[in-house]
């Protein structure tokens, strides 16, 4: 990887600024151009025509939360594997054994989660 004349993240910065401005324009376009006629029933929440009974913000299942936790912990595993994969040929046997131990420990965690039924979507 030779030293590039321009920091490779400068185009990313340009695209980031443009993407954000473009997103704001697209999001605000019809709100600016379109007509605005206020009408009480039009601005209510859409419930297939049935008037709402309880507020939308009631509690819901803890399953989503458990998925997010396991996502973080296995995401870190992916990150470690990426780091190992990048310099794999220089590490050879020693690196391979290290990562096998790493994967075995995490598979124990994975088996525990599956057996414990944290991923059941009943």
């Amino acid at each position: 990887m030779e030293q590039q004349a321009m920091n490779p993240y400068l185009p990313v910065l340009i695209f980031l600024v443009f993407g954000f401005i473009f997103g704001c324009i697209v999001s605000a376009l019809s709100w600016l151009i379109g007509p605005r006629k206020y009408n009480k029933s039009k601005h209510e929440i859409y419930e297939c025509g049935v008037p709402m009974v309880t507020s939308a913000r009631e509690k819901n299942s803890v399953k989503f939360y458990l998925t997010a936790i396991l996502f973080i912990l296995f995401d870190i595993e992916t990150v470690f594997l990426f780091l190992w994969a990048k310099s794999f040929n220089k590490l050879g046997w020693f690196g391979f054994v290290e990562v096998i131990v790493f994967i075995v420990i995490l598979v124990v965690g994975y088996v525990y989660v599956v057996k414990r039924g944290a991923l059941e979507w009943d």
């Binding site: 936790i69 990048k86 290290e98 414990r116």
Partner: protein
């Protein structure tokens, strides 16, 4: 010259976002500002040439941990009236001003401090020569820091087991009345 502009814009945005995280009433608003702050910290890392750590910061922090925060906030969805905290008493205000002053003093002394001569030899040319930022970190991590790497996987295993045990309610163990007591106290979080 362009370097100074880019750095100061990133730094000022980052400070603005972190102040907004602390002062917002609605937790989802402060979560989104924290996502912005984490993105800008990744920008500082990219600005410093630490490519791999910047990508990991966005992937792990802004992409995973903050999703968990958002899910928990949505899951608990507390109505805003409950979040009203009583106004600040005189004592608290005094402590607030004291902490702000002490932090200003610390940052000034840091800004004036002496620079230490570089001890290592991995200058940016050196890093670029042997394979770029990621390869050098990879080699160092898997050669020099073997034990921290294995302990990290053990720590993740602990976190998996702990979070599943704490968060997942075990219906079988709860006896009849205890289960009902817990259910009617909070409303059943299925």
């Amino acid at each position: 010259m362009a370097e100074v502009i880019v750095f100061y814009s990133i730094a000022s945005l980052l400070v603005f976002c972190s102040i907004m995280v602390v002062t917002r009433k609605n937790p989802i608003a402060s979560a989104i500002y924290l996502v912005g702050a984490l993105f800008l910290v990744a920008a500082v890392f990219a600005f410093l040439g630490a490519d791999f750590v910047a990508a990991i910061q966005v992937l792990v922090y802004a992409g995973a941990i903050m999703v968990l925060f958002l899910f928990v906030i949505m899951l608990l969805n507390i109505d805003p009236e409950l979040l009203k905290s009583p106004p600040m008493t005189a004592g608290e205000a005094a402590v607030l001003i004291l902490t702000i002053l002490s932090f200003i003093v610390i940052s000034v002394t840091v800004f004036k401090g002496q620079l230490v001569a570089p001890v290592g030899e991995l200058t940016t040319q050196e890093i670029a020569k042997n394979g770029g930022n990621t390869a050098v970190i990879g080699l160092a991590l898997f050669m020099k820091y073997v034990w921290p790497f294995e302990l990290a996987s053990f720590l993740i295993l602990l976190a998996i087991v702990a979070s599943v045990v704490i968060a997942k309610k075990d219906k079988k163990k709860l006896t009849g009345d205890q289960a009902d007591a817990e259910r009617n106290m909070v409303g059943d979080l299925r």
